[in-house]
Subunit: 416 residues, 2 copies
């Protein structure tokens, strides 16, 4: 059985270990919630200070051009693109994931409505277990269209194959499930969609920076995702949207603000979308929050997603092994696939008192989070999590469980 | 004629003059572009540093609750509300102005569609001279509805009275025009809309913090606005949306993300809007940018909009007087109303070489901006602009015009 010394040895041999120094991690904390809010790159503070004190304070309005504020969504998109198998000019960092999903879904519906053989398709297929805002945005869009669009919820991966039928306009999936860490086979499901005449829209919220993603290789049609989880962009940092070049000319969506206009400063009274990925933009972006996204991306540029993935699997394998070996007598249920190809970068365990156990863990400095029903989530972020962190976290979990040191009467609230 | 000494005397007697110390203004610059990007409150740097270094860096995920990140859109909305005549629980600071306009317009259309006598109304009336993104968003929304909605553009204020007819669902206007600084009579036009069975939606981008606004008193139905202009919230800071309590129960819009859900952490697969103004929220907000909005609002709480307005009119009157007296021989045309009730907090002058003259002004440290066609804009922000600033700016303008010290061959680009 693996010992703590084994973990220290692995850390000593870990090629990613030096990157941990680029993050500001609080002492006394083992942070296993980078799947919800990534830790802070040290560089982000100085970057924000420069944007606020110098670019805003001293250069004022001139910074829109001189400091590249206007171009930041595209510039950051180009830096993010390699992490998800996208090309230059196919990604912008802007708005929230919910809003970008709305744009991509609207564009997919628009493309299908203009297709001679697919114009009658009216169904958006997704999973009931998808992150709720994705479902809500699809419901919002479809209920506002007066053409009978609806959202079809499926209850299992197997059901997707039958649910995507001749009525399906879009297959909209989150690549890695936020609760279980289950990873879909993006290539197979995109191929299924294509074979059935549907378009495949992927939410990469728990994938970008967490697992290797090859959007072009997988034959995806559209994608959106988050920068404040594994990409460490900062709380609520703007999200991203990917539109491959083959779909850009046909990319039309109703959130047609001036940042997506061909000539925003011509101040013409009719909307005319710009060429390229810029048409996925809408309004003015929050520059201080946006600028910090770059600090997270700069750290990824010092390694590869293959290296990140290798360590991610080592950490999640280790966590599963240690929990099962050391907490075996307790009613824990592994909710995350053991199969590597089906696993993201988190491990979820159920427990009858999952909420209370997680509260006790947090009180002792092991920060994961809780999601209904009964799921304790532990996110593993290879840029700043060590093997020894994993060992120590399991030791504290074992103590809490062995001692029943959790308050089952604790008020249930949002453990985010 | 007013002398520079007169200006200094007025500054010495100005009750708002001490507030200038709360802004970080660069030396050698007379900043007359606060109508585009407000100057930086000194407090904003420390606020952002605390959010980034402590709340994000040290407290990490716990700050969503412990530091009040989740509640920030509502908390800031309540602080902003008094500036626009709104009540507690009627405003949130969130997303961009374009997106908030889309939500409000959609909600207004939805309300009208459910009204027994107004369901057939299909026209959104606005001005051709409105800020383009407002028109674009209305075009985007109406073109995506399959019920024959359209945008009707009017070319003059007088035309509004005839354009709002039995087909009009919504009268959508920007209160103060971004180019000319013309201020609409919000009460009269809201009453006109109401009498004709239309709803009145106001964009306060150039009003909030610039002129007194009394949304309830004026009988407005919905409003949106910007925090990064006169409210000094920082570049691209999130915008606001106002929904009066009387419209909240019927407020329905398609950007139905999880932040607008009644129980966002129940993770239910069906959207159910929360009670109150929260239903105007959509997705996760950019916290660092959002937090700085509060620093701008804190300065407004040290004075009154009546005092701000009195100084604004003094400054704009002075600028008009001095330009006309000292630059009288040059082909300048006043584009801003002389009548106080029709004037916002900016003054615009046309000039045949407006772009080149503005570029020369900026090169000499007088920062205004330029908007097609031929309009030089000068924003006057009573919290940090002095009477002496106005005198000095006009002196530099006079020198440039007298010496023809501007390059008419200068490439025309975005002078933002």
């Amino acid at each position: 059985m693996t010992t703590r010394n084994d973990c220290l040895t692995r850390d000593a041999q870990d090629p990613l270990a030096p990157l941990r120094d680029q993050f500001d991690l609080p002492t006394g904390v083992i942070y296993l919630d980078g799947n919800s809010l990534g830790a802070r790159p040290k560089a982000s503070l100085a970057r924000a200070q420069h944007v606020i004190a110098h670019e805003w304070g001293k250069d004022l309005i001139r910074s829109w051009n001189a400091a590249g504020w206007f171009d930041m969504p595209k510039r950051l998109g180009n830096r993010l693109a390699p992490l998800i198998g996208a090309a230059d000019g196919e990604v912008v960092v802007t708005d929230s994931t919910s809003l970008n999903l709305f744009k991509a879904l609207a564009a997919a519906i628009h493309l299908q409505a203009g297709h001679p053989e697919r114009a009658a398709r009216r169904v958006i297929v997704t999973e009931r277990s998808n992150f709720p805002t994705d479902i809500y945005m699809a419901q919002g869009l479809s209920s506002w269209l007066d053409r009978g669009y609806s959202v079809r919820l499926v209850d299992s991966v197997d059901e997707i194959a039958t649910a995507v039928d001749a009525d399906t306009a879009v297959l909209m999936l989150t690549h890695v499930n936020y609760r279980t860490g289950h990873q879909h086979d993006m290539a197979a499901l995109s191929a299924l969609a294509r074979q059935r005449g549907a378009l495949a829209l992927w939410d990469l919220a728990h994938s970008a920076g967490a697992v290797p993603v090859d959007l072009h290789g997988a034959g995806a049609d559209f994608a959106v995702g988050c920068t404040y989880k594994y990409l460490n962009g900062g709380p609520g940092a703007p999200a991203f949207i990917w539109v491959p070049k083959r779909h850009q000319a046909g990319f039309t969506q109703p959130l047609s603000g001036w940042w997506g206009h061909a000539a925003p400063f011509a101040m013409a009274p009719d909307f005319a979308p710009t060429e390229g990925i810029g048409r996925a933009l809408c309004g003015t972006q929050p520059i201080a929050s946006l600028a910090m996204v770059e600090c997270g991306l700069e750290i990824f540029e010092q390694t590869t997603m293959a290296a990140v993935r290798a360590k991610s699997l080592a950490l999640t394998d280790l966590f599963i092994e240690l929990v099962e070996a050391r907490c075996g007598g307790h009613p824990l249920g592994l909710a995350t696939p053991r199969e590597h190809a089906r696993r993201g970068s988190q491990v979820s365990f159920t427990h009858p008192h999952g909420y209370a156990v997680m509260a006790a863990l947090i009180a002792r400095g092991v920060i994961g989070d809780y999601r209904e029903p009964g799921i304790m989530r532990f996110g593993f972020t290879p840029l700043y999590t060590s093997h020894a962190d994993v060992w120590d976290a399991v030791e504290i979990l074992k103590q809490i469980l062995d001692d029943q040191a959790y308050d089952t009467a604790a008020e249930r609230g949002a453990v985010t």
